[in-house]
Symmetry: C2
Subunit: 236 residues, 2 copies
DNA sequence: ACCTGAACACCGTTCAAGT
DNA sequence: ACCTGAACACCGTTCAAGT
């Protein structure tokens, strides 16, 4: 219709469809149709659907703000980065599902990981712990985003999960019943709190990982400053 | 061919296909064919594909061992339960993806959550923290299982993730490059270590959650014993 | 109520043929 | 090399018709 067909135009149109219609609403055939061609034409630019999905995911991750809250300690910047990541994934319903399914190893995803590793190094976290921490943090935020997008399905105003938890039998599942409100509480507070829990575990484990884990706790030697910063932020 | 068609037979056949062929290898049409009928017939027993997937997931989760390591402290039993959960999800390649996609709120999933809440209560973890902790633990283990199943695809012997991480440019992503071996290390040790990190954060946060989190820190009052057990296990 | 054949409205991917 | 029409081998779901 407009553009002369290119890898870039294909990814742009696919992301647009994903944002508007969710994961099911995006297809090679529809992308081709929107670009006024047949589906076979796309294969000159992309390998297959999997690759297109990976490209779309990385395109979306490109708008994560890596410099959020540039001032402030490592902790505030880390939370700001994760919030931006959550915000981007929450923008379109299918994106979080895509992030869980596809391996996020494009340049934008790598830049996010690189930045997180830098922030954790500032925090005094050793390399082995930081590698695990990045996994943990991104997995959690992605999971949260996917859960949110699932509960916002128009077919299910109240959300299937919420209904299931709230309707649980007090006889069969007494503890779930007792904790049902806590299990359903979401929102910003819970998010920040969860990150807090993760960081506590990470910081506490750092510098003394299980002996068998690393070949040798390499001397990445964070500054004394970094370590005292850690202490302060834990004390808050 | 054999059975007179029933919800149970449909779920059994679907799980079999999922286990043998992965998520893509299971379809309503193939289940119907295996049961010697047309696809339309299944709709007398199930609502749609989504429901069938949820039923298959819960059927599979039914074989998670809730009594693993019955003796021993709460911590050993919790790790044993999560290992069993990981083992079940790892058994078939599509199952972990299904667990990430579908909301796990069937009876078997609820029994797992109920058991985890019980173990965390034994550990002296308050209800609000425990609700978050269950989310965190299950999400992490499910994520690990999904990642593993992705790397074992026959089309990609070495794994796309592994290749991407190992081939990362030292100039563009110095920290990822430096930590590449740590980022790729998996296996049992790393699993246990990760659970350890999560539990440290959880135990440390418990009893003093962010003020705004709960309406009022309900007096769930774990025994003094439970709290001293917590201390011991942290000290190890 | 349960079951069915046939159709509807889609998919991703391939391939021979064109330019 | 890029692009295409047409076909291939699938999907989930619906629906009128049977029992």
């Amino acid at each position: 219709m407009k553009l002369p067909l290119s890898r870039d135009a294909i990814v742009t149109e696919a992301l647009l469809q994903l944002t508007r219609e969710g994961l099911e609403g995006m297809s090679l055939r529809k992308v081709a149709a929107a670009l006024a061609t047949g589906p076979a034409s796309l294969y000159a630019y992309i390998e297959n659907l999997d690759e297109l999905q990976a490209l779309v995911l990385d395109r979306a991750l490109g708008s994560v703000d890596l410099r959020g809250a540039r001032k402030g300690g490592w902790r505030d910047r880390l939370v700001a980065l994760l919030e931006s990541y959550l915000h981007v994934l929450s923008r379109s319903p299918g994106l979080a599902q895509l992030a869980l399914g596809a391996a996020a190893v494009g340049p934008s995803a790598l830049r996010i990981v690189e930045t997180l590793l830098g922030l954790l190094d500032e925090a005094g976290v050793d390399r082995g712990t930081a590698a695990l921490a990045v996994d943990l943090l991104l997995l959690y935020v992605t999971g949260i985003a996917a859960e949110q997008s699932k509960n916002f399905e128009p077919t299910d105003p109240e959300g299937a999960v919420a209904r299931a938890i709230r309707g649980v039998s007090a006889d069969d599942y007494p503890r779930i019943h007792a904790a049902r409100e806590e299990m359903l509480s979401g929102g910003e507070e819970r998010f920040v709190w969860a990150i807090d829990v993760l960081l506590r575990g990470i910081l506490q484990t750092s510098r003394s990982p299980t002996a068998s884990l690393a070949p040798a706790p390499a001397p990445s030697s964070p500054s004394k400053e970094a370590r005292s910063r850690t202490k302060r932020s834990l004390a808050r």
